[in-house]
């Protein structure tokens, strides 16, 4: 059971926003997380797959079959909505059993299946309650049960955790992953929370202005972003515009850096990209060498296990993360911590 977008485009009527030429595939049992800023088109991708809007170009395939003309009720996809959309006038078992009711399954069997599904998400004892009596996290579980009870061909999650508190969000994140794994179902997760995406996505896709910028494993995305946008959007980053000045050497606004310049020609404009945890505090002796900097602390954020420090250096600023507790005045940026990204 696979879900596939094949060169899909859609523009909202009367605007120039939408999604453009997006191709991606979600394999059986795989969880693909789509992240992007608001208006990047990530929710539109979900609406296209669910059938709430029709693509202007391209095809949407479920198990290899084009479903472009199929109404949402014929697509057999489970959807968990941002505000859960549990029917307020139906008991929990009726909510979960609704998909079975419209498929003509009798009341007794429906109830049994619904209660069993509710038990799988830890809500079995509340089958006769109304949704209004539940907390956000509980509603989330019921919404998940409702979306899975009819053995859908795919699971779509639209910002499923955005309405929850930070602590509960982490717990529910694991819960979603557990249920998704046990159902072994192709899943699309739309979120603006990159931490959520990186932690549960088998693959993560980054959308920007309606286009798919990069898709890869969380590790690919974090360590080898294709451009400065992805680098800045996923995690913390240092990005310094500069120019290649010789083999293994670039000049940036904060000074000279030594790094691998393979594939870049002399004089080419680049953006040097360094994750803050790769910047190492040093003793202030070796300042003259490339990649060594001294400065003063501009901001020092205590985050528990680490400190996130902005170090003001001549020409710019270096952001670093360190577990050291003492003062930091000099840092070293090792050559293998630097990646050169194209100037867009």
């Amino acid at each position: 059971m696979t879900l596939r977008y094949d060169a899909v485009s859609y523009t909202y009527p009367g605007t120039s926003i939408g999604v453009f030429d997006v191709s991606l595939e979600i394999g059986r049992g795989e969880l693909l997380a789509i992240i992007g800023a608001s208006g990047s088109g990530k929710s539109t991708l979900l609406k296209l797959l669910a059938g709430f809007v029709k693509p202007a170009n391209g095809r949407i395939l479920i198990d290899g079959k084009d479903v472009g003309e199929l109404l949402p009720e014929k697509r057999k996809l489970g959807v968990v909505f941002q505000n859960y959309a549990l029917f307020p006038h139906m008991r929990l078992w009726e909510n979960v059993g609704y998909a079975l009711k419209v498929r003509g399954i009798g009341k007794a069997e429906r109830r049994a299946l619904a209660v069993e599904m509710l038990a799988r998400v830890g809500m079995g004892a509340r089958a006769d309650d109304l949704p209004g009596m539940l907390s956000g996290g509980q509603q989330q579980r019921v919404a998940l049960a409702r979306a899975l009870v009819f053995e859908p061909r795919g699971l779509l999650l639209d910002e499923p955790l955005s309405a929850l508190d930070a602590g509960l969000r982490v717990e529910m994140r694991d819960e979603i992953l557990r249920v998704q794994r046990s159902a072994g179902i192709a899943t699309l997760l739309v979120t603006h929370d990159q931490e959520e995406a990186l932690s549960i996505g088998d693959k993560v896709a980054v959308m920007h202005e309606g286009r798919l910028v990069q898709i890869g494993t969380p590790r690919d995305l974090y360590e080898t972003p294709v451009n400065a946008y992805v680098a800045a959007f996923v995690g913390q980053s240092n990005l310094w515009p500069g120019k290649v000045t010789g083999t293994g050497r670039i000049d940036t606004e904060i000074g000279a850096l030594a790094c691998d310049t393979k594939g870049k020609s002399n004089g080419e404009a680049v953006i040097a990209f360094v994750r803050p945890e790769r910047v190492q505090p040093t003793s202030p002796s070796a300042v003259a060498e490339p990649g060594h900097f001294s400065g003063t602390i501009e901001a020092d954020r205590y985050l528990g296990p680490i400190r996130r420090i902005d170090l003001a250096v001549p020409g710019g600023r270096i952001r670093l993360e360190t577990h050291l507790r003492g003062p930091v005045t000099s840092v070293e940026i090792p050559p293998d911590a630097i990646r050169l990204l194209p100037v867009s």
Partner: protein, 261 residues
């Protein structure tokens, strides 16, 4: 402040109280308050054939207006909420709200002009009067329903039901109508309250045999004061009943919607 508020309330309530008193008084002419006590004015109103006919015509008109509002207003509101975007939505709203902005008198003259022609000779008929009441009350139904649909986030529930496999008909009967139940009842009662008291259009459009209660009521003031008072009190009670039930239903509905949050 309090004095002003009380004075205003007295000013508001005084005519109603005087009507009540007058309806039970034997005689009332050139005095501040009526003299004597009697129930005969109510008996007379009840036995007057033209009042009886008008009373039942009014009830029929109210019933038909409510049914038509439901049959036309609900689909219209649904279409505006579900389908219309931007310009179309604005135009649909404008058209439904127009009768509120246009004076009833203008509307009535329009009806007279159009429906007294040989091609459309329906002036004075029951159904034309019902159509007039529909035009006047539809804006309230549509506005209230569209607002409730948006506030309920009906589209989200419908999307949810669709992804679960529910056809349009199943969504309508299992989700849309149950969620809008109180909203529908409350707007129908508002329509009833408006329709019961409607005078301007009815007075000009109704035929002699299809006169509604408020139209006939005007005649009462040419006769005995007690009779006029009693006839007015009957209308007052009818209208008040509809308004009070309407606002209570709306409140119960609002309470039920708030509860789940």
């Amino acid at each position: 402040m309090q004095v002003i508020a009380i004075a205003y309330l007295v000013f508001l309530a005084a005519p109603v109280l005087l009507l009540l008193l007058g309806s039970f008084g034997e005689t009332w002419s050139n005095t501040l308050l009526p003299a004597g006590f009697t129930g005969r004015w109510y008996e007379e109103v009840a036995s007057d054939p033209s009042f009886r006919r008008a009373f039942f015509t009014s009830l029929q008109i109210v019933g038909v207006t409510c049914v038509l509002n439901m049959l036309i207003g609900f689909p219209l509101a649904y279409a505006i909420q579900a389908g219309a975007r931007g310009g179309v939505r604005f135009a649909a709203r404008l058209v439904t709200l127009m009768p509120v902005a246009v004076p009833e008198l203008v509307l009535a003259f329009g009806f007279i002009l159009v429906f007294s022609s040989d091609a459309l000779p329906w002036l004075g008929s029951f159904w034309l009067l019902a159509a007039g009441h529909l035009v006047l009350t539809l804006p309230y139904t549509v506005t209230a329903l569209v607002a409730d649909m948006e506030q309920l986030r009906l589209d989200e529930y419908e999307h949810a039901a669709a992804t679960l496999g529910a056809s349009f008909a199943a969504r309508l009967s299992d989700v849309t109508l149950p969620l809008l139940r109180t909203s529908l009842i409350s707007s129908m009662l508002t329509v009833a309250a408006l329709s019961i008291g409607e005078f301007q259009l009815s007075n000009l459009v109704a035929g002699f045999l299809s006169r509604t209660y408020p139209v006939v009521l005007l005649q009462a003031f040419y006769g005995a004061t007690g009779f006029a008072c009693a006839a007015t009190v009957v209308l007052l009670i009818l209208a008040a009943l509809a308004s009070i039930t309407s606002s209570t239903t709306a409140q119960i509905g609002a309470f039920e919607q708030k509860k789940p949050q």
